[in-house]
Amino acid sequence: MEIGLHHYLFVALVVFLSGIFTVLTRRNAIGVLMGVELVLNSANINYIAFARYGGTPYDGQVFAIFVIMLAAAEAAIGLAIVLGIYRTFQTIDVEATDSLRG
């Protein structure tokens, strides 16, 4: 079977499902951030697959570049927050940060 659009969509689907599973089950805060990176990557694969198979190629690729750039900004801020949490709680377990819980 010739490699077509569906192959790329299924690869992106598996990456997306791994990403949301990681976000749901990881207790390490950086692990959760890695799940978010996987979800963004799956969206990128979809964008570029549709840019190739759907029409004008540059719109999808420009959008993918914006996604990569926003992922970089979000990773920087997220990891700065994680380091702040580590400085305060001496752990990055997401269940340990419950000081506001009643």
Binding site: L13, L17, R27, M34, G35, L38, P57, F66, I68, L79
Partner: protein
């Protein structure tokens, strides 16, 4: 034939990396599996004639974000990282939810009448996409491009402020 074999190899690298991030117990193994997934993603972009985005992915995602993540993991890694049995969401409910979502999306992928066209004229000419992307950034997507630089400046200043030690007067 060789094209299909190479594609399945690169796609397999991506999928195995993603599954490694999800199911690995050690967070350092997860980080290296994420690197494999990102490298596979860059390979997939090359298959889709997106040469510039593949290079950007390698430079920014693998060389920037992943290295930053590894730094943060090494700074916060505890030697005695004992996995407690009760998790935030149990693995079995999460698997059930993921399977349900995956079944729905898989059905949509198979059944949707995607309007598939051949490669666009610019790609078929084999020129490379850098010129077209640069042209798009400066003509059609100029405002998002400028706003993106503002976002990056904000993220830079925010990260520095967040990771600064408290000043004692």
């Amino acid at each position: 034939m060789i094209y299909a074999a190479l594609f399945y190899g690169v796609a397999g690298l991506t999928v195995l990396g993603a599954l490694g991030v999800a199911f690995s117990n050690n967070v350092v193994y997860s980080a290296f599996s994420l690197m494999a997934a990102l490298l596979g993603g860059a390979g997939l972009y090359v298959f889709l004639s997106a040469d510039f985005v593949a290079a950007v992915q390698l430079l920014v995602y693998v060389g920037g974000i992943l290295v930053l993540t590894l730094f943060a993991i090494m700074l916060t890694h505890q030697i005695s990282n004992v996995e407690v049995s009760n998790r935030s969401v149990g693995k079995l409910p999460a698997l059930a939810l993921v399977a349900f979502v995956g079944a729905g999306m898989g059905y949509a992928i198979v059944k949707a009448p995607w309007r598939v066209a051949g490669p666009a004229a610019e790609i078929a000419a084999g020129q490379g996409t850098t010129y077209g992307i640069g042209d798009s950034f400066l003509n059609k997507y100029l405002l998002p491009f400028e706003l993106a630089s503002v976002v990056l400046l904000t993220a830079l200043v925010g990260a520095i402020v967040l990771s600064r030690k408290e000043l004692r007067d």
